[in-house]
Symmetry: C2
Subunit: 247 residues, 2 copies
């Protein structure tokens, strides 16, 4: 098997964005770390010399460009690499460049989701930064969710759909699918309040669910549930319903 | 002039990473927004349909792939695009992929720099989140600066230098140059405490300064000073000297 995906055991987290694209494209991969745990992951990562990944998830391709072994981190970058190699990007170079930008916009929103429960320090527990988290989550619910989702909705609606690049799915669609699933998990009140606001996103989401590779994956035990160790966490106190009336 | 760089007036910010690469490569560009102010920028941005940039900085290339007009956001993406088009990347595809990852690692660190003074909300003033900022900055100084700079140092030291991809500069070098300049401005005590710890980064930095395009740019009035409206801000209370002895 030429691909290895290295990520933390027990959370979908950022690794899930890569996993979904691999599953949608029907590409076989060894899910490392997820099987072997954090110690194996850190051992593999720390043993990589030269320009190494900064953090999980990272992808190892034993058949990289020029036949060399490639190990690269950064979700958006991994997805762009796979999409170019296996053709799940757009119909032309101009569109492909715009899809990469959208994938990076998604990464930014994911980082902001993480900051809602860890605004002060990754090294602190949520319980030790709850007050700051409440303030950060308020900003995220009120301003950032509509700003990001409005951006993705406009981009989708400008095309013919159902996917971002038209009739064929791209790496951006599987990532948007996961982003919406995560937001629904973490902020159910807020997302319920926005129901109906983003019809193009909803249509895209149903189209991703219906992709054969995704449908099979979602029905399998490889799909991990969200939980409170991951990026998307459901803490009811971070999902107050106050903004619903205003939007 | 085929390139337009759109960014906020009056701060180097994220736009400076793009500007440095354009200057180092000797590519002519129109510095928009920076000349015309925020209103012109928001008008230009909001008038862009389809898959538009999410936020400044963004690059407009009237001679994009296929002859179409391209407008893309995301610093790392803009730099990768320019580097591929004009050849200031690495000597081979494997290296180029690793350089893109490093550019994204730099973007992550820049976002964490911004979070040191805006941990709770972009929409609040620093003065309204000073306590949270103090805690976030402590984490950044103690843990994140050494983690990121150690990562870049190891990557650089693994090659022959002086630049990340060897004897020729790439988009990663100009960005690391700016990152180090910004950290020195924002956290002078902390960075003084780390003096001598990153010899490969220091060597690269001097080599970037000596590039003809960069030397001319730094001596010109196009180079903007850092200030307390940008990403890298010097607030003495966020740069306490406590960690110096420990590292």
């Amino acid at each position: 098997m030429s691909y290895e995906l290295w990520y933390w055991l027990g959370i979908p987290g950022r690794g899930e964005f890569v996993r979904l694209a691999l599953e949608a494209a029907g590409l076989p991969y060894a899910d490392k770390g997820c099987k072997q745990g954090a110690e194996a992951l850190m051992q593999d990562l720390s043993g990589r010399g030269g320009i190494a990944p900064f953090a999980p998830p990272y992808l190892v391709d034993r058949d990289g460009p020029g036949g060399g072994e490639l190990a690269i981190g950064q979700v958006a970058h991994i997805l762009t690499y796979l999409a170019e190699k296996h053709g799940f990007n757009g119909p032309d170079p101009l569109t492909n460049l715009k899809l990469i930008q959208l994938q990076l916009d998604i990464s930014d929103m994911v980082a902001e989701v993480h900051a809602t429960h860890h605004p002060l320090a990754n090294g602190l527990y949520y319980a030790d930064q709850k007050e700051a988290a409440a303030r950060r989550a308020q900003e995220f619910r009120s301003n950032r969710i509509p700003k990001f989702l409005g951006h993705f909705e406009r981009a989708l609606a400008a095309g013919g759909g159902p996917f971002m690049a038209g009739e064929a799915w791209s790496h951006v669609d599987t990532s948007l699918f996961q982003l919406l699933a995560g937001l629904d998990y973490a902020f159910p009140n807020r997302m319920a309040g926005l129901a109906g606001t983003y019809p193009a996103l909803e249509r895209m989401r149903r189209a991703v669910e219906a992709l054969p590779g995704i449908a099979a994956y979602l029905a399998s035990d490889r799909r991990q549930p969200f939980n409170e160790d991951g990026i998307f966490r459901h803490y009811p106190e971070l999902d107050l319903a106050a903004e619903q009336a205003a939007n």
